[in-house]
């Protein structure tokens, strides 16, 4: 799916709001079951956006991170009344194990959601938001983006030719290689700076710095953004209300409470899941239109 359909078709501002809320609630709510459900929802979002390809690429780092938290928390924190086991003279408590588990879930939840951020918030959308904050900084970011491939290509060319002159980082003693390496990078930089003067001329020639700048990249705030923002806000208000009245937590310390979800927690769970899955509504809607089209043809 391209930028014109589904979740990706939303305005950068809407997307930013979604992720800001998603991350905030992922941290505020602290109940293993709610977080587990949230994680499942984030996975569903991933699956919808690219069939979970990007998510699978991150599986190992995420698993390692969670495992670390899962292990470290009981070792470092000895709060809690129910001692499960003595590791030497170190008590491992049930409470800190559960706390670690919840923390790991919370992190997993945020990371999984953040992977979709990279899919939905394209470079252009990000720069659009950024240029609202600071047009100059956005321009610098854009120039840097243009510069990276140019530098990389030049370095390759330079290394190829310099190797034929015996200036290379693949032969000779370590000291020699280091010297050659700095020589090549130095040449690359002075060459690039020299050229940057021409780039500066080209910018000046096109009136850079003659006054207020405007931004070309445009995203229209459409009715579907309006709907999404309203629905997200409604969910957020509900969630904040529930959270402020003390629901959506599980009591862990000093002694473990019940896993059972009481009514308030259930509302928090429902609100959170709805919030996370909301933008997928557009994904479903747009897919359906393709199906309908196919039947007609």
């Amino acid at each position: 799916m391209t930028d014109s359909f589904g979740f990706r078709s939303l305005h950068p501002f809407t997307i930013l709001l979604y992720y800001a809320g998603g991350i905030t609630f992922g941290m505020l709510l602290f109940h293993p079951l709610i977080l587990l459900a949230g994680w499942a929802a984030a996975v569903v979002v991933n699956l919808h956006l690219d069939g979970g390809r990007e998510w699978r690429r991150w599986t190992v780092p995420m698993a390692v991170g969670c495992l670390l938290i899962l292990l470290m928390n009981p070792i470092l924190s000895h709060r809690g009344r129910t001692v499960l086991y003595y590791f030497g003279d170190m008590p491992i408590t049930l409470e800190s194990v559960v706390y670690g588990m919840t923390l790991a879930l919370s992190m997993l939840n945020l990371l999984t959601l953040f992977i979709t951020y990279r899919l939905v918030m394209s470079e252009q959308k990000f720069l659009f938001l950024f240029s609202r904050l600071s047009p100059k900084a956005a321009l610098v970011a854009m120039m840097a983006l243009g510069m990276v491939p140019r530098l990389r290509r030049r370095l390759q060319e330079l290394m190829l030719i310099q190797r034929s002159r015996g200036i290379t980082v693949t032969e000779g003693s370590l000291a020699q290689r280091a010297r050659n390496g700095t020589r090549i990078v130095g040449t690359l930089l002075s060459w690039t700076l020299e050229d940057a003067l021409q780039t500066a001329d080209s910018m000046q020639a096109r009136g850079y710095g003659t006054g207020r700048r405007s931004g070309y990249a445009g995203f229209r705030f459409r009715s579907r953004d309006m709907w999404t923002v309203s629905a997200l806000t409604a969910c957020a208000v509900l969630l904040l209300g529930v959270w402020a009245s003390g629901y959506g937590f599980m009591k862990v310390y000093p002694n473990l409470g019940s896993f059972r979800l009481i009514t308030g927690d259930q509302v928090a769970l429902a609100g959170y899941i709805t919030y996370l899955l909301l933008p997928l509504g557009w994904e479903w809607r747009d897919r359906k239109s393709w199906r309908t089209l196919k039947y007609k043809m």
Binding site: R150, E157, D195
Partner: protein
């Protein structure tokens, strides 16, 4: 409508004694197409930059420059920037941001235009230049010609009335150069934009221009119609003037003064003129000026044996089974369109890249088995951008490094001797990046020759050189060749090739499709004949 009036301008760079421009007066009418020519260092670039306030060099200036009757420095910065557009030589360095669409919008953003206005202009300009399919592309993926087209379009987004062009064609291959030139001519014809253009090569330019202005040592020495310029050059009989003429005009001039009343300045005119005089082919054949005897039976020195090469696993092969020999004593020229793999083939032959299939052989042994020390004594390779060959702070150090590597005992003395031989002794303490393109090229050539290679590979050695620099390069290469070095160069410059080479080959679609002595080679190829018409006309 805008016009420039330059009155008695004298300009001196800081810390220079002699002025770069002295007492220059020139007036450019609205909608005029003016070509500024002259040897390197004649002040044509300085003059052009003085007309664009934002990039004017610092220094002392007397006299005045009026744009629409008010002094240039009195214009508000926004109006001045919008009124006069500038496109420079290097296609890469003028690009500021990452994608084509952003690049085109950049100037309009600087002017704080509304998004609606920007979109409308973008639509108009992209349509005119046929850039729509490129809008979403990253600028670094484009070809040189496309980049320069984007640069031109980006400047035009501000709707300038005067377009200043500082050698915009120098870095382009002939085909891309012609396309860009046609675009510039259309802008001049249809939109009435005044064009002031600096260029060394007047080949395609002379028939298009309304006026030619020649500068020499900071003074205007000619200002008039293109045809008069050709006649003036002939009357003066000065090599510098004549070398600036289109090759077809030069050829006609060489036929003798009685041959024409008005010198032809385009191929079409020359054809008509020949037609009037009788059989053109017979006439031309007498005049073939290939000076070197071909080597038909020399032993193969360097050979490509069924070479296949691709840049990565997923991209299509650039070379598809090249089977080719270069014999001792050859001065070979490799032709081929953009992206036909000329540069790649040279790099493979030089041993700095390895083919995925097939092998390169030096004599009878595969090149890859040779030690790198032996290789540099055998093959010298000069890259398309000579700046790549430098890695030290002065030319002397780079030469010394090259001499050391070649195993020369007294490196410094040898380096200095080499510099003397190539007439670059005065540049020895200069930083390589401060030298001009032509100087960098000669310097890099000197570095390579310190190793006394038996074979010299050159990748587009004449690109961006003015006629004088080209002539110098040719003299050096001729010397080297006479001393027994085999030369192979990839080029678009048919004229240069025809004058010196004794063997021509054409690379197409990853294979060598034509190979032979220059005369039959050029006569047989209908397409080449047309692509490179003026020069080919001259030789066959």
């Amino acid at each position: 409508m805008a016009h420039f009036k330059i009155q008695n301008v004298t300009f001196t760079y800081p810390e220079e004694r002699l002025p770069a421009l002295s007492d220059v007066s020139l007036s450019v009418a609205p909608g005029e197409f003016v070509v500024l020519c002259g040897p390197s260092g004649s002040g044509k670039s300085t003059l052009l930059r003085l007309l664009k306030r934002e990039v004017s060099p610092g220094g002392r200036m007397s006299g005045s420059i009026l744009l629409n009757d008010s002094p240039l420095h009195e214009w508000t910065s926004r109006e001045a920037a919008a009124m006069v557009g500038l496109v420079m030589q290097n296609p890469d360095n003028q690009l500021v941001v990452d994608t084509v669409e952003h690049e085109l919008a950049f100037g309009m953003e600087n002017f704080g235009l509304d998004r609606d206005v920007m979109r409308r202009r973008m639509a108009e300009m992209a349509g005119f230049f046929g850039l729509e399919p490129l809008l979403g592309r990253r600028t670094d993926e484009l070809s040189g010609g496309q980049k320069q087209t984007v640069n031109l379009a980006a400047v035009l987004m501000l709707q300038p009335r005067v377009l200043l062009l500082d050698e915009p064609l120098a870095q382009l291959d002939p085909l891309a150069a012609r396309e860009l030139l046609a675009m510039i001519k259309r802008l001049n014809d249809e939109w009435g934009i005044s064009v002031i253009m600096c260029e060394h090569r007047l080949d395609d330019l002379l028939p298009l221009a309304d006026r030619v202005v020649r500068l020499d040592c900071g003074r205007i020495v000619f200002d008039g119609k293109p045809r008069d310029f050709a006649a003036e050059a002939w009357n003066r009989n000065d090599a510098d003037w004549i070398s600036a003429l289109p090759s077809i005009t030069r050829w006609a001039i060489e036929q003798g003064p009685q041959a024409f009343v008005e010198p032809p300045i385009s191929v079409k005119e020359a054809r008509l003129w020949l037609h009037k005089r009788g059989n053109p082919t017979q006439y031309a054949r007498e005049h073939s000026n290939s000076t070197v005897e071909p080597t038909r039976h020399g032993e193969p020195l360097l050979s490509a044996d069924q070479i296949f090469f691709a840049y990565d696993k997923h991209s299509p092969a650039v070379l598809r089974g090249v089977d080719w020999q270069i014999r001792r004593g050859d001065w070979g020229v490799l032709f081929g369109g953009n992206g036909s793999g000329k540069s790649t083939l040279l790099q493979l032959l030089a041993g700095i890249r390895m083919p995925q299939r097939g092998s390169v052989k030096w004599g009878k042994a595969p090149l890859s088995r040779k030690h790198s020390k032996e290789q540099i004594g055998a093959i010298g390779y000069l890259a398309q951008s000579p700046v790549l060959h430098y890695a030290h702070d002065t030319l002397l150090e780079d030469l010394k490094h090259a001499a050391n590597r070649a195993g020369i005992q007294d490196a410094e003395q040898e380096a200095r001797a080499m510099a003397d031989r190539f007439g670059i002794a005065h540049l020895l303490t200069r930083h390589p990046h401060d030298m001009s393109g032509g100087e960098q090229q000669i310097g890099a050539l000197a570095m390579i020759l310190l190793a006394k290679p038996q074979m010299l590979l050159l990748d587009e050695p004449t690109k961006g050189l003015d006629p004088q620099a080209k002539k110098r390069l040719a003299t050096y290469l001729k010397n080297i060749h006479t001393q027994g070095t085999t030369i192979l160069m990839a080029t678009h410059d048919v004229e240069f090739a025809a004058a010196y080479a004794n063997r021509c080959s054409l690379l197409f679609h990853g294979e060598i499709v034509a190979d032979g002595e220059p005369e039959p080679f050029f006569r047989g190829e209908f397409v080449l004949h047309h692509t490179y018409a003026p020069a080919a006309e001259r030789t066959c």
